[in-house]
């Protein structure tokens, strides 16, 4: 629903980076998108393409790296990927495990043609 706004925020960062590198073209921007970030990858990609189309940013590719949800066990500290909404620690069976990763919405890199 808010993916267009998120896409616009990514483009703000691209513009800022382009400004710092006059004469170069940014051809790709890579982001890390967590499983529970609340942002849909397809909608984000679609919104991004719409905003880039027929602007001087073209051609600009958005690469989305999906980041899975990880939990840490409060008892044995085991870290595991949470699948199928099962928070239980696969090592010791503890239910009280803490989410340690999966809400990322980060820009990780840009590819610049100098």
């Amino acid at each position: 629903m808010h993916e267009l706004g998120v896409a616009a925020s990514i483009l703000d960062c691209v513009h800022a980076e382009a400004k710092r590198r006059p004469g170069s073209h940014i051809s790709k921007v890579g982001i890390r998108l967590g499983e529970i970030s609340g942002v849909d990858a397809d909608s984000l990609q679609f919104g991004f393409e719409c905003l880039v189309k027929e602007t001087d940013l073209e051609p600009l590719v958005l690469e989305i790296e999906a980041v899975p949800r990880m939990q840490r066990c409060s008892q044995c500290s085991h870290e595991f990927r949470m699948t199928g909404y099962d928070p239980q620690c696969p090592q010791c069976g503890e239910f009280m495990t803490q989410c340690i990763s999966g809400d990322q919405l980060d820009i990780s890199y840009m590819e610049v043609d100098e």
Partner: protein, 227 residues
């Protein structure tokens, strides 16, 4: 071609503003809670019941967000506490800039509790940090028990789930225990309180929860001042 590592949050501008707000709240010992739910889960009615139960001397204020109309602010203003409507004009969530703008003219330091009622939406508000101490999610008994599984982001981030409209449980096919179980599957540490704004059930517990959060904030502020 040159690859440049960036390491920046996509919503870094919002994040920065949210951190400023958090710092302001921390300095003044203000506890800020961010209420999030689907439209119609009972956020505004719960807030009416909440303000009604506050002592007249309570230092509480409310910011309430909607796409359009001042209706909610009008409903909440009659309890005599400061209330402001945030009209987003179509945006599906509140962001930190809107909060900062609407706090202008208010003496934040004179508050103990700032309640933010987000736009009715279970998805987008979960991505935007408003500088709050905690998010609170409402799930009503007229919705599905699987909402925590369908919209895990907000249930994973909320400190408290309020199960609202529990007075309707005898009349709806809602399985409350399953809803609680689903919420705990997404977030094992989530606290849960059952409430009914109609009968008043659970409201004492809810008020006590808010009070504890405020006390904890004050204690944290006092500790920070001493050190």
């Amino acid at each position: 071609m040159n690859r440049v590592e960036v390491e920046k949050k996509v919503l870094s501008e919002n994040q920065l503003l949210a951190e400023h707000l958090r710092e302001r709240y921390r300095e003044s010992g203000v506890c800020c809670v961010n209420l999030i739910s689907s439209p119609g889960s009972g956020k505004t009615l719960l807030l009416e019941r909440t303000l009604e139960r506050m002592a007249p001397t309570a230092r509480v204020a409310v910011l309430t967000g909607d796409l359009q109309t001042e209706n909610d602010a009008q409903r909440l203003a009659r309890f005599g506490f400061p209330v402001k409507q945030i009209i987003t004009g179509g945006t599906c969530h509140l962001d930190a800039r809107m909060i900062g703008r609407h706090l202008e003219g208010w003496d934040v330091a004179s508050l103990d509790l700032l309640i933010v009622e987000n736009v009715g939406n279970l998805v987008c508000p979960s991505s935007y940090d408003l500088g709050e101490d905690c998010k609170i999610v409402l799930l009503s008994t007229t919705e599905g028990e699987d909402k925590p599984l369908k919209y895990p982001s907000i249930f994973a981030k909320a400190a408290l789930m309020l199960l609202t409209k529990v007075d309707l449980l005898p009349y709806v096919p809602f399985r409350a225990e399953l809803a609680r179980e689903n919420a705990r599957r997404v977030h094992p540490q989530i606290e849960i309180i059952d409430v009914s704004s109609t009968t008043g059930e659970g409201l004492e517990q809810w008020m006590a929860w808010l009070e504890r959060r405020q006390q904890a904030k004050k204690a944290g502020q006092a500790a920070a001042t001493r050190s």
